[in-house]
C-alpha cells in the first residue's frame, strides 16, 4: 500500500490560498531569498543539477531551457511565461496548484525570472479556469503589496512584474509557440520551429516557457538543494509528480507521488481501484495526445525512461482508466473528434487528416470484423503520414493513441 508524497501539494488544503501570511508562515518566499543570496548563474546550475524535467508534457530538462533563455551578456529583454493552459483532456493538476497554493507558483516564477534575468512574466491561464485566475490575481496583488513583485524585490536590485492572460478556449494555445502567438494578441496558430522560444519567443525575445507544475518545483529545489530534490523519484525522472487520475475509478483525483510510481499502485492504493472492482481494460496515459496501455502494463513504473521503453508516454500525467465494460470505439471516436475540433487548420495534413480519420472512424461500428481491422489500419496509416508531415505537434499526436490502440487492442475493436 503506497501513499501520497506531498511536496508540491504540501500546503494544499492546509493553508488559506488567499492569505500570503499563511504561505509565509509555512516557509513561503524563503527560497526567493536564497536565490537572491546566490547568483542567477548558480540558480540555473542548481536546477540543472536537480534533473527537473518539464511537467507540461514533453519532459524537456528545465535547466537546459533556462541556460538557453538566459541572455545576460547582451542585456537583451527576456520573458518568463507560465503555461497554465492545461488543455490536455484528463489533466487537472495545474489547476489544483493555482487554486490551493497560488503563491508557490508566483515564487517559482520570480525565481525563474531571476535566473534568466527577465523583468516580466506572464501566466497564460486556460480561459475556463475562473477560480485560478481570481486566486492568482489576488495573490499577485498581495505579493506586490509585500514587495515580492515590482521594483527592487527584497532589496536585491532585481525587479520583476507578473501579469495574467486568460486564454480563449483553444487546446492548441497550450502549445508553447502558439501560446506566445496568442499572448501577443494574435490568432492561435503555431509558429515555425526552430527558432525555439528560448531564442525567439514573446515578441521575438528569448522566452522561458514552463508548465505550472514545473515552476512550482523551483522553490523546493532552490530552498532545499538539488540533492534533496533527487531523493524523490527515479534517476532520470527525479522529484515527485502530480497524476490526474480519472475515468472508471472509485476516487478520481489529483495525486502527488514519487515519479516512477507503479501504475496499479496509483490506481488501486490512491484512486481506490476501479469502479466495479474488476481489472481495467485499458489506461490512456497522458490524455488525448497520450498512449493506450493494456492491463499487462499494470506493473509499469510511471517515469519517462521506463514508459519510453514500452512505447508509452507520461505526457502531462493524465491517467484515464477505462473499465472492463467500457467500449473502445466510441472512446476512439471522441478522441478523433477532439483532434478534428482542435486542429487549427493551418497545415494540410492535420487539417484534412483529422477530419478524414474522424469521418472514417464513424464507419467502424457498421463494418464487419475484417473491415474494422482494415479501417483501423488505414486510419493508423493516415495518422502516421500526418505525424511525418504536420507543422506542429498537434497533427503529430493522433498517431500516439491510434498506434497504441492498434498494437494492443485491434482484436477488441474488431469484435466490440
Amino acid at each position: 500500500m503506497i501513499s501520497e508524497k506531498r511536496i508540491i501539494l504540501r500546503n494544499s488544503g492546509v493553508i488559506n490560498p488567499q492569505s500570503i501570511e499563511e504561505y509565509i508562515d509555512a516557509g513561503g518566499y524563503k527560497s526567493l531569498s536564497s536565490a537572491f543570496a546566490s547568483t542567477p548563474e548558480k540558480v540555473v546550475e542548481e536546477v540543472m543539477a536537480s534533473g527537473l524535467r518539464g511537467r507540461g508534457g514533453a519532459g524537456f530538462p528545465t535547466g537546459i531551457k533556462k541556460q538557453a533563455a538566459a541572455d545576460r551578456d547582451t542585456g537583451k529583454i527576456s520573458y518568463v511565461v507560465c503555461n497554465a493552459d492545461e488543455g490536455e483532456p484528463g489533466t487537472f493538476k495545474d489547476r489544483i496548484i493555482m487554486e490551493t497554493n497560488p503563491h508557490l507558483l508566483i515564487e517559482g516564477m520570480i525565481i525563474a525570472g531571476y535566473s534568466i534575468s527577465a523583468k516580466l512574466g506572464y501566466i497564460y491561464i486556460r480561459g475556463e479556469y475562473y477560480d485560478s485566475v481570481r486566486r492568482l490575481q489576488h495573490a499577485i496583488h498581495q505579493a506586490y503589496a509585500r514587495g515580492y513583485l515590482g521594483n527592487d524585490i527584497l532589496g536585491s536590485g532585481f525587479s520583476f512584474d507578473l501579469e495574467i492572460k486568460p486564454g480563449a478556449g483553444s487546446y492548441l494555445c497550450g502549445e508553447e509557440l502558439t501560446l506566445l502567438e496568442s499572448l501577443e494578441g494574435k490568432r492561435g496558430y503555431p509558429r515555425i520551429k526552430p527558432p525555439f522560444p528560448t531564442e525567439k519567443g514573446f515578441w521575438d525575445k528569448p522566452t522561458l516557457v514552463n508548465n505550472v507544475e514545473t515552476l512550482a518545483n523551483l522553490p523546493g529545489i532552490i530552498g532545499h538543494g538539488s540533492s534533496w530534490f533527487r531523493s524523490s523519484g527515479t534517476e532520470k525522472t527525479p522529484g515527485t509528480k502530480l497524476f490526474s487520475v480519472c475515468g472508471d475509478v472509485k476516487k478520481p483525483g489529483c495525486y502527488e507521488t514519487d515519479a516512477g510510481v507503479i501504475l496499479n499502485d496509483l490506481i488501486n492504493d490512491l484512486a481506490g481501484g476501479t469502479s466495479n472492482g474488476k481489472p481495467w481494460k485499458a489506461v490512456l496515459l497522458g490524455g488525448a495526445a497520450g498512449t493506450f496501455v493494456p492491463y499487462s502494463f499494470s506493473g509499469l513504473s510511471l517515469c519517462y525512461e521506463r514508459l519510453k521503453e514500452q512505447g508509452a508516454t507520461l505526457g502531462s500525467g493524465a491517467v484515464i482508466v477505462i473499465g472492463n465494460e467500457r467500449k473502445l470505439i466510441p472512446l476512439m471516436q471522441s478522441i478523433l473528434m477532439f483532434f478534428r475540433h482542435e486542429s487549427c487548420g493551418k497545415c494540410v495534413p492535420c487539417r484534412v487528416g483529422t477530419t478524414y480519420i474522424h469521418e472514417r472512424s464513424l464507419e467502424i461500428p457498421a463494418a464487419g470484423n475484417e473491415a474494422r481491422i482494415s479501417i483501423l489500419e488505414e486510419i493508423v496509416n493516415h495518422a502516421r503520414q500526418m505525424a511525418k508531415s504536420s507543422l506542429c505537434p498537434l497533427g503529430q499526436s493522433p498517431i500516439l493513441p491510434l498506434g497504441t490502440l492498434q498494437i494492443h487492442f485491434t482484436e477488441m475493436i474488431a469484435t466490440e
Binding site: 482542435e342 497545415c347 484534412v352 477530419t355
Partner: protein, 904 residues
C-alpha cells in the same frame, strides 16, 4: 556565400537564403503552394518537405535557411509519396473545377502528380459537405472558400506587402475560411488593390472585371508597361485578348513596385475601350462639332495658328503639355511650341501642383526632383510626411512606408486633415490651414534651442556656413514652441517631439505634398522644410533628403524634357545662350529663332488670355476647366481666345471651348517613356491599337509642325525621338531604349556607362556653388480669411479611387463602385452650428463661385475647416478657389478658400 548540395548537386547561395527559393532558382522544382518570395514563410501546405542530413524527420524547405555543407534530399520515393498524399488531401477539401480565367498553381501540381486522372485519387472529395459560401460583395473580386487551400498568401499579401491587414481566417480547422475585416469584403476596409488576387495560387480569389470574357488560352499578348495613373510609375503587365485589355497584373521583381499595385493600376484600364473615346477629328461649326478628316483639321489649325502668329506675334500663342503623355510626346510638343509657335509660353499642370516645391528646391539645393529611391521610404529611420496624403495619392510608395512602420520606423504626419497614414504615425501634428511657415520655423527653433543641429554639415555643405545659419537662428528666435503652438493650434509638446524625432534620428527623410505647395506661400513653405533639413544634416546621405511624390505618371518627365516656360530640356534656363545654341543645332533651327524670353505659366496664360494678350492655345491632354483655380475666370479666358485646339482621348469640360478637337491616344496605344517620382525612366509599351482614326500624340504634333512650315526630322520610332532628347538633355544623356530594356534607370545618368543615380546630393548640391542654401522666411498670415460672410476655410484634395479630373477613373466601373459622388467633410461641431445633417445637400459659396454637394460629417477635419475632393465635374471645387498666385512659382492656392455653406 555557402556551398551545399541538393540531390547531390552542388549549389552556392548567399548564407541565410531561403532553401526553397534557392532550389527553385537553380531549377530544382520542389513543389509548394504557400510560399511566395515576397512573403514570410508559412509552412502550411507541407508540399515542399525535404530531408536534411542531421535534422529529424521531414523539413519544410520554405522554412529553412541554407547553410554551409548542408546535404538536402529534395526528391526520393518517400518524399514524392508524401507530396502525392498531401495533394490528395487538398483534393478532399478543394473544389478543383477550373474555368480558365486565372492561373492556377494547384492545378499545375495536380497534373504534375497525375492526379487529374480519377483513378489516381484515393479520397472521395468532401468539400461539398462543408457548406462554404462565396463572398461576392466586393466590387473587384470574388472569394470562393471551396477553392481555398488556406495557404495564407492573401492574408500576408494584404498585411506584409500592402500593409493593410484586412484579411484573416475565421472558424477553425477544415471549416476555416478567409474573411475581410470582421465579415464580408464589401463591408471591410479593403480598398481593392488586388494584391491578394495576384498572390492567390488557386483562384479562390478572382477578379470580377472581365470574368466572363477572359480566357487565358486566348490571350494574344502580354505587354509590360508603366501604369497610367500616379507618379509611382508601377510596372504592369497588360493581357490582351481580341484586341482589348482584359487584365492588368503587377510585375514581380522590378522597381518601383515589385508586383504591387493599387486599385487604379490593377483595374483602371477600362477607359481605354470606353465608347466615349474620340475617334475622329472634330471642328466646331456654329457651335456644333462636326466630324472632319485629319487633313481638314490640320489645314485649319495650321492656318489659324499661323494667322495669329503673324497678326499678334508669337507670344500670342501658348501650349499646355500633358503630364499623362510620354516624354517623347512632350518633348516634341515643347519643341513644337518653341519652334513652330516661336514662344516659351509652354506649361502644364505641374504649375498647379509642385511648381513651388520645384522652385524652392532648385534655388536651395539645385534639383527639382525627389532625392531618394522609393525603397528608402521603408528603410529610413524617420519619415516626415507633410501636406501629403500619401496612402491615397501615392499608394505604392505608401506600402513602403507602412512596411517601414511595421519595423519600427518613426513617422511624423503634418496635416490639417486626418489621413489614413495617421494610424501608422508616431505623432500627428494638425495645424490650422495656412500656418506651415510658423510651424516649421517653430520646429527649427526647437532644434536649435536643443542643440540638435549638425554643425559640421552646416559648415561644410551650406552656403555661408555658420553665418548663414546665424541669420536663420535670428529669424526663427521668435518662433518659440509656445508661439508656434499659438499660431498653428498644435500642442507644443507635439512640436517638440516632432523636432526631436526628425533631428535626432540616424536618418530622416521628408515627403512633401500638395498641402505644402498649393498655397500662396508655397515656395516659402518648402524653403522652411529645406532649412530644417539642412541645419540637421538630414540630407546628403542615403535614406535622407526631400521628396515630393508626384501626382501623375509623367509629371516629372514632362518638366525634365522641357515643358516649362523657364527651362529647356534638362532644367537649363531659356536664357542660357550656350545651351540655346547647342539645342538649336540639334534641332536644326536658327539659334535666333529660339526665344530667350521666359514664357508664361499655366495660370498666367489664362490670365493673359482673359486680358486678350493670348489669342490661341494648343492643349494636349489637359483639362484646365477642372484643374485650374478660379474656373469662372478660366472659362471666360477660353471663350475670349480666337482659336483653341484640344487634343485628348475624351470630350472633357475643356473640349467644349475648343474650335478643333483632335482624337489622341491613351498610354496603352503607344510606345514611349515616363519618369516617375524617384527619377526613374520607365518604358511604356503599346498593347492595343488606337480606336477609329485616333492617332498617337507625337505623330499629330509632328505632322502639324510640318504644316506650319517647321518640319521635324522623320523619326522612324520613339526610340529615335528619345535619342534626340538625350542629346539635348544632359541628365538623360546616358539613357537609350536599348538600356531601358535591361531595366529602369534613375537620372542623372550623364553617359552610357553611368549606372544612374539612386540618391541625390551625396557629394554636392546641384547649385552653382555646390552648397545648399538657407532661406529664412517669416510667417505671413493669409490674405484670405474666414469672416462673417464666409466663415469656413475650404481645403481640397484627392481620393484613392479617382484621379485628377476623373476623365479616366470615372470611366472604370469598379472605381465608380467605390465612390462616384462628390462630398464635403465637415466637423461635427460645425455641422451642428450650421444645422447640417449627414447626407444633406448643400450649396457652398466662395467670393468667386459656388457649387452643390453632399455633407459628410467627420472629425477628420478641424473645426472651422472643411474638405472636398476635386475630382467631380458636377461639383467643381475650383469654381471656389482663388488665382492669387505664389509670387515665386506662380502656383495657385487650392488649399485655402473662405466659403459658406447653406442647406438647399
Amino acid at each position: 556565400m555557402v556551398t551545399f548540395t541538393i540531390d547531390n548537386r552542388t549549389i552556392q547561395a548567399p548564407d541565410g537564403s531561403n532553401l526553397l527559393d534557392v532550389a527553385r532558382r537553380n531549377g530544382i522544382a520542389i513543389p509548394g503552394l504557400c510560399y511566395h518570395h515576397k512573403l514570410t514563410p508559412t509552412g502550411a501546405c507541407r508540399l515542399c518537405l525535404v530531408k536534411v542530413e542531421g535534422m529529424n524527420g521531414l523539413i519544410a524547405s520554405c522554412t529553412v535557411k541554407v547553410a554551409e555543407g548542408m546535404v538536402v534530399t529534395a526528391f526520393d520515393p518517400e518524399l514524392e509519396e508524401t507530396r502525392r498524399f498531401l495533394l490528395n488531401y487538398l483534393l478532399y477539401e478543394h473544389n478543383d473545377s477550373y474555368d480558365g480565367t486565372y492561373s492556377d498553381e494547384m492545378r499545375e501540381l495536380i497534373f504534375r502528380y497525375g492526379l487529374d486522372k480519377p483513378e489516381n485519387r484515393y479520397l472521395k472529395p468532401n468539400w461539398e459537405k462543408i457548406n462554404f459560401k462565396k463572398d461576392d460583395s466586393s466590387p473587384v473580386l470574388t472569394y470562393d472558400p471551396s477553392k481555398c487551400i488556406k495557404c495564407f498568401r492573401c492574408i500576408k499579401a494584404c498585411d506584409e506587402v500592402q500593409g493593410k491587414n484586412v484579411l484573416s481566417f475565421t472558424e477553425r480547422g477544415i471549416n476555416s475560411f478567409i474573411i475581410a475585416g470582421t465579415g464580408i469584403w464589401g463591408g471591410s476596409e479593403c480598398d481593392g488593390c488586388g494584391e491578394c488576387i495576384q498572390l492567390c495560387p488557386t483562384g479562390a480569389i478572382v477578379e470580377k472585371p472581365n470574368r466572363d470574357i477572359i480566357n487565358l488560352e486566348r490571350i494574344e499578348k502580354k505587354i509590360i508597361t508603366t501604369c497610367p495613373y500616379c507618379g509611382v510609375g508601377c510596372q504592369i503587365e497588360l493581357l490582351v485578348q481580341d484586341g482589348r485589355i482584359v487584365r492588368s497584373n503587377g510585375v514581380e521583381g522590378v522597381s518601383p513596385n515589385d508586383g504591387r499595385l493599387c486599385i487604379k493600376g490593377r483595374f483602371g484600364y477600362e477607359f481605354v475601350h470606353s465608347p466615349d473615346r474620340l475617334t475622329k477629328p472634330l471642328i466646331k461649326h456654329n457651335g456644333l462639332f462636326e466630324e472632319v478628316t485629319w487633313d481638314e483639321a490640320f489645314d485649319l489649325i495650321a492656318k489659324k495658328f499661323t494667322e495669329i502668329k503673324n497678326k499678334y506675334g508669337p507670344n500670342a500663342l501658348a501650349g499646355y503639355a500633358s503630364a499623362k503623355c510620354t516624354n517623347e510626346d512632350n518633348y516634341l510638343f515643347q519643341k513644337f511650341v518653341r519652334t513652330a509657335f516661336g514662344t516659351n509660353n509652354i506649361d502644364y499642370c505641374t504649375r498647379l501642383c509642385h511648381a513651388s516645391t520645384v522652385t524652392a528646391m532648385l534655388k536651395a539645393i539645385g534639383d527639382g526632383a525627389g532625392s531618394n529611391p522609393i525603397e528608402d521610404f521603408e528603410t529610413t529611420d524617420c519619415l516626415f510626411v507633410i501636406g501629403n496624403n500619401i496612402i491615397e495619392t501615392h499608394p505604392i510608395t505608401a506600402t513602403y512606408v507602412k512596411r517601414g512602420a511595421a519595423k519600427g520606423q518613426k513617422i511624423i504626419v503634418v496635416d490639417p486633415k486626418w489621413t489614413p497614414l495617421v494610424p501608422y504615425a508616431t505623432v500627428w501634428l494638425q495645424p490650422k490651414l495656412g500656418t506651415d511657415v510658423a510651424l516649421l520655423n517653430g520646429l527649427v527653433n526647437i532644434i536649435i534651442k536643443n542643440g540638435w543641429i549638425n554643425r559640421k554639415f552646416i559648415e561644410e555643405r551650406v552656403e555661408g556656413g555658420m553665418e548663414a545659419f546665424n541669420r536663420l537662428e535670428k529669424l526663427t528666435a521668435t518662433y518659440s514652441s509656445a508661439y508656434a503652438s499659438e499660431i498653428t493650434g498644435v500642442q507644443a509638446s507635439k512640436l517638440e517631439m516632432a523636432a526631436r524625432l526628425f533631428a535626432t534620428s540616424p536618418t530622416s527623410m521628408i515627403a512633401t505634398g500638395m498641402g505644402m505647395s498649393q498655397q500662396v506661400t508655397g515656395t516659402h513653405n518648402v524653403f522652411c522644410l529645406i532649412n530644417m533639413m539642412l541645419i540637421t544634416g538630414q540630407v546628403g546621405r542615403e535614406k535622407c533628403g526631400i521628396n515630393p511624390p508626384r501626382g501623375q505618371n509623367n509629371v516629372q518627365g514632362a518638366t525634365d524634357v522641357g515643358c516649362s516656360p523657364l527651362n529647356f530640356p534638362g532644367y537649363i534656363p531659356v536664357k542660357d545662350d550656350d545651351n540655346r545654341r547647342r539645342v538649336a543645332e540639334v534641332w536644326g533651327v536658327p539659334y535666333e529663332s529660339l526665344s530667350p524670353e521666359p514664357g508664361l505659366t499655366t495660370v498666367e496664360i489664362m490670365q493673359a488670355a482673359y486680358e486678350g494678350r493670348i489669342k490661341g492655345i494648343f492643349i494636349m491632354g489637359e483639362n484646365p476647366m477642372i484643374s485650374d483655380p478660379n474656373l469662372n475666370h478660366t472659362e471666360e479666358a477660353l471663350k475670349r481666345m480666337e482659336f483653341v485646339v484640344v487634343q485628348d482621348i475624351f470630350q472633357t469640360e475643356t473640349t467644349r471651348f475648343a474650335d478643333v478637337i483632335l482624337p489622341a491616344s491613351t498610354w496603352a496605344e503607344k510606345e514611349g517613356t515616363y519618369v516617375n517620382s524617384d527619377r526613374r525612366v520607365l518604358r511604356g509599351r503599346k498593347a492595343v491599337e488606337c480606336p477609329g482614326e485616333a492617332r498617337v500624340d507625337w505623330k499629330i504634333i509632328h505632322e502639324l509642325a510640318g504644316r506650319m512650315g517647321k518640319p521635324m526630322p522623320e523619326y522612324r520610332n520613339e526610340s529615335e525621338i528619345f535619342d534626340e532628347l538625350a542629346r539635348v538633355t544632359p541628365i538623360l544623356a546616358g539613357i537609350s531604349y536599348a538600356r531601358l530594356e535591361q531595366g529602369s534607370i534613375q537620372w542623372p545618368c550623364p553617359d552610357k556607362d553611368h549606372p544612374g543615380t539612386q540618391t541625390l546630393y551625396l557629394d554636392r548640391f546641384n547649385t552653382p556653388t555646390g552648397r545648399g542654401k538657407l532661406f529664412p522666411v517669416e510667417y505671413i498670415p493669409q490674405n484670405e480669411k474666414a469672416d462673417a460672410d464666409y466663415p469656413l476655410i475650404l481645403n481640397s484634395g484627392r481620393l484613392l479611387y479617382h484621379y485628377h479630373t476623373a476623365t479616366m477613373s470615372r470611366r472604370t466601373k469598379v472605381l465608380r463602385d467605390f465612390i462616384d459622388e462628390s462630398f464635403v467633410l465637415i466637423h461635427p461641431g460645425d455641422a451642428k452650428s450650421y444645422g447640417l445633417t449627414h447626407g444633406a445637400r448643400v450649396r457652398i459659396e466662395s467670393r468667386r463661385g459656388e457649387l452643390e454637394t453632399i455633407v459628410r460629417i467627420s472629425d477628420d477635419v478641424r473645426e472651422g475647416e472643411v474638405f472636398m475632393p476635386w475630382h467631380f465635374t458636377e461639383s467643381q471645387v475650383n469654381r471656389l478657389t482663388r488665382d492669387e498666385l505664389d509670387p515665386y512659382s506662380r502656383i495657385a492656392p487650392f488649399k485655402l478658400s473662405a466659403v459658406r455653406i447653406t442647406k438647399i
